[in-house]
């Protein structure tokens, strides 16, 4: 890039009327980083990146903070922070103040904290002596502060699986405040989480399209009791996180492949899995060995994160198109989500990827015994004509249960998150228990994450994060809202959506670079 071109890019950011001051700063920093040479990689990897088979999520060439970082908030609350010059909080007001300060000092790929902690547990020591009125007032101010000070749709808190006073107060507050931030996940254990609490959560979804519901026993088995769901559908160890996320575009991988589906699974797939891991390793080494984040950052120094609880995320997407192309190559029109043969092929592909990822070690990934976490990546808005993760293409979803039966067998393989979104019509509003039944059924079928939305509420879920409909102008028609997988750079309409997002609340992860 010539100096003139660089200057032009910088001016485009500085003079962009749709960006707030802070958003301009964010993109300016990314622009500066983009001028650096990336860590050295092999020629074949370079080619795979150029062919868009492998994507670094535009994280930037010089990783200087982990992509996702999950501080151990209960520990911070107990020990205070030397760096922040804060004593351990003694009451609710002090605790909320302490947390807010800590949040602003917690980095991530978005520039904002992606994890606010399991707030029902973090705040539990302070609520017994507080009246309902005081609790509601303090939480309301805290919630407004979070939304206004951390205006990014990937800021995420967790609740459950226990039914708590704080959890109920937060759901009530969510329904009243109608805020995009924070995103919320409810951990569900059918043995622990009562139906009445699940109904509270479901009623909250009716209004604000959150929380997500996750399979707590499955998460605990994979990640241990101390885990968090952060950003959008990323489940990781608390007190740790993920260095990076690199994703493999299965559709493009199939396009580079000559031959049938079994040679794809046995040869081409292995080649690209290895190349993806090569890029992950290069990025992890730069972060840990060159930028030395874990030596310099106070979160690591004070033990609020520790390197041995980190790993990195191996993402995949475009499974539906990969299956379609492979079936077509053998003269079949069978489609993922609809035909047993195509579904079987999809399971074979993810089985093979999961096996390879567990065979090929990565450095500094002790958080997952030295291997990457597998992740079904839910898309960024530069994606065009490719379906997120392991989802069934939008508009092609089969009937509800068949949809769940088709996708559920993938879920157990993706310990760092997988997502499928279900849409219900408004009749469920009068009967939240009906949705609770479906969620529990989905978890019983082996789903890890369950997200649903109503056609009618004010929030739109683009790929996993929320946009408020009233923030979105010139929306064409109902159906276009869910074309989230084709929110691509080339599409005039979809670029429109990107621009419309650039309001006070940003979705930095989903919009890693401009235009």
């Amino acid at each position: 890039m010539s100096l003139k071109q660089i200057q032009q890019k910088i001016r485009q950011i500085i003079n962009n009327p749709q960006l707030s001051y802070r958003q301009r700063m964010h993109y300016l920093a990314a622009q500066a980083e983009s001028l650096l040479e990336p860590p050295p990689i092999s020629d074949s990897l370079q080619i795979a990146i150029e062919q868009q088979v492998i994507c670094d999520m535009h994280e930037g060439p010089a990783p200087h903070r982990p992509r996702y970082l999950l501080p151990d908030y209960p520990k911070a609350i107990k020990q205070g922070s030397d760096y922040l010059e804060l004593d351990p909080p003694n009451n609710l007001v002090e605790a909320l103040n302490f947390l807010m300060i800590l949040y602003t000092q917690t980095p991530s790929i978005t520039g904002y904290p992606v994890y606010l902690g399991d707030l029902d547990k973090v705040l539990a020591p302070f609520v017994d002596e507080v009246s309902d009125a005081q609790l509601n007032l303090q939480l309301r101010l805290f919630w407004q502060m979070i939304d206004r000070v951390l205006p990014d749709a990937f800021v995420h808190t967790n609740l459950g699986p226990e039914d708590t006073r704080i959890g109920r107060a937060i759901f009530q507050l969510e329904r009243e405040l109608n805020q995009t931030v924070p995103n919320i996940t409810l951990k569900v254990d059918p043995q622990i989480t009562p139906n009445s609490f699940l109904e509270e959560a479901v009623k909250t979804v009716f209004v604000v399209a959150k929380p997500h519901f996750v399979n707590h026993p499955m998460m605990c088995a994979d990640l241990g009791e101390q885990y968090g769901v952060v950003s959008c559908y990323n489940s990781l160890k608390a007190g740790g996180g993920s260095h990076t996320l690199v994703r493999l575009n299965l559709k493009e991988a199939v396009k580079q492949h000559q031959g049938n589906s079994s040679s794809f699974i046995n040869e081409t797939l292995e080649k690209y899995v290895r190349l993806t891991l090569e890029l992950m390793e290069a990025r992890i080494r730069y972060l840990v060995e060159d930028s030395c984040f874990f030596e310099h950052n106070f979160l690591a120094q004070e033990g609020l994160v520790s390197l041995d609880r980190f790993s990195a995320m191996f993402g995949i997407y475009g499974l539906a198109e990969a299956v379609k192309l492979l079936m077509e190559a053998q003269g079949s029109l069978a489609k993922y989500g609809h035909d047993a043969e195509a579904n079987q092929l999809s399971y074979q592909i993810t089985d093979r990827i999961a096996a390879l990822v567990k065979e090929i070690p990565l450095p500094y990934c002790e958080g997952n015994d030295g291997f990457a976490f597998l992740h079904s990546q839910s898309g960024i808005d530069l994606d065009l004509d490719v379906t997120a993760g392991t989802r069934i293409p939008i508009g092609e979803e089969p009937e509800l249960y068949e949809h769940i039966f088709a996708v559920a067998p993938h879920h157990h393989k993706f310990s760092s998150g997988v997502s499928d979104i279900f849409h219900f019509d408004d009749t469920v509003k009068r009967n939240p228990q009906a949705v609770v039944d479906v969620i529990k059924g989905g978890l019983a079928q082996g789903m890890r994450d369950f997200t649903f939305n109503l056609a009618s509420n004010d929030f739109i879920r683009i790929t996993g994060y929320l946009v408020r409909k009233s923030d979105v102008v010139r929306l064409e028609k109902e159906s276009s809202r869910y074309n989230s997988t084709v929110l691509g750079a080339g599409s005039e309409k979809n670029q429109g959506v990107t621009k419309r997002n650039l309001k006070r609340v940003m979705s930095h992860e989903q919009t890693p670079r401009l235009g």
Binding site: E399, Y401, R430, A434, V435, D437, V438, K440, G441
Partner: protein
């Protein structure tokens, strides 16, 4: 011994509006009432194989079976134009099929982990009591299904002996009461309400009355005096009776009834307050 067949109009594996929680719903074909407000009039009649729909089907998807007792529906040729329903002189349709209990049970089994229960609706469910009894009996004696609640959505016209045969395997009934006044009931349904009132009483005593559904059609059955009589009768049956007020909507009703007034939300609110005045707590308004 072969299991009884049911004439099934439609199966919905997911419904949030047919009882508590998520329900698998079986709509049986054929009803002994002829209600002015019926939203699915094509479920009222039982096909007499007159063949008119076969003649009128633009997709040639229908033909009379060789046996002459049934019309065969070729789903792949069907244009979903519903012309067959429009031309049927008997308020029936050729899409209903005779299904055996095992076939329906297999479908329920596939959906079971997502369900609170199974509801049989209609048409009028109790018009096919053998099928209903066998289905519910099978659910309650199958270890993979017996967590499901079994509910009947009914017009309440079944004889007490039929209820007695069904209730051992039935968790609850949702009963429509179109009018407490018999003359108005006659006018709205073509039938007397005396059996309906007896059914409600019987189900309440047997602790199987899930809810009573009261249809509200302005100027036809929403006179305060009758509503007061209704409320008085219901609250004497039980002080924790659950009722649902259903405002008339003309969507889907037959053309001759489509100019009836729809109930306004304000009127429904007034009626809710009237019932609350009698100490009835659980009132849903739709």
């Amino acid at each position: 011994m072969s299991k009884p067949l049911g004439l099934v109009n439609r199966i919905l594996p997911f419904s949030a509006v047919d009882g508590p929680g998520n329900r698998f719903v079986i709509f049986l074909q054929g009803c002994n009432f002829n209600c002015v407000n019926c939203h699915n009039p094509q479920t009222i009649g039982v096909c007499d194989v007159c063949g008119i729909c076969v003649e009128e089907c633009p997709g040639e998807a229908l033909q009379i079976k060789a046996s002459g007792t049934e019309i065969e529906w070729n789903k792949s040729r069907c244009l979903r134009c519903d012309n067959c329903i429009k031309v049927c002189p008997s308020d029936s349709n050729p899409h209903s099929q005779w299904l055996d209990v095992d076939f329906v049970l297999e479908k329920i089994r596939r959906s079971a982990s997502f369900l609170s229960g199974v509801t049989v609706s209609g048409g009028e469910a109790t018009q096919q009591p053998e099928f209903l009894r066998e289905l519910f009996h099978s659910i309650k004696t199958d270890s993979a299904l017996n967590h499901l609640s079994t509910m009947i959505d009914t017009n309440g016209s079944a004889e007490i002996s039929i209820w007695k045969s069904l209730l051992p395997f039935t968790d609850g009934a949702m009963v429509d009461l179109k009018a407490f006044d018999n003359q108005i009931h006659q006018k709205l349904t073509g039938n007397s309400n005396s059996q309906v009132l007896q059914s409600i009483q019987h189900l309440q005593k047997a602790e199987r009355l899930f809810e009573v559904r009261l249809l509200i059609i302005p100027d036809l059955n929403d006179h305060d005096l009758m509503l007061q009589q209704t409320a008085n009768w219901l609250c004497q049956l039980s002080n924790n009776i659950r009722i649902k007020l259903i405002g008339f909507r003309n969507h889907g009703v037959r053309p001759e009834y489509s100019d009836f007034l729809e109930a306004t939300p304000e009127r429904l609110d007034e009626i809710r307050e009237l019932f609350q005045g009698f100490g009835i707590q659980e009132i849903k308004v739709i």
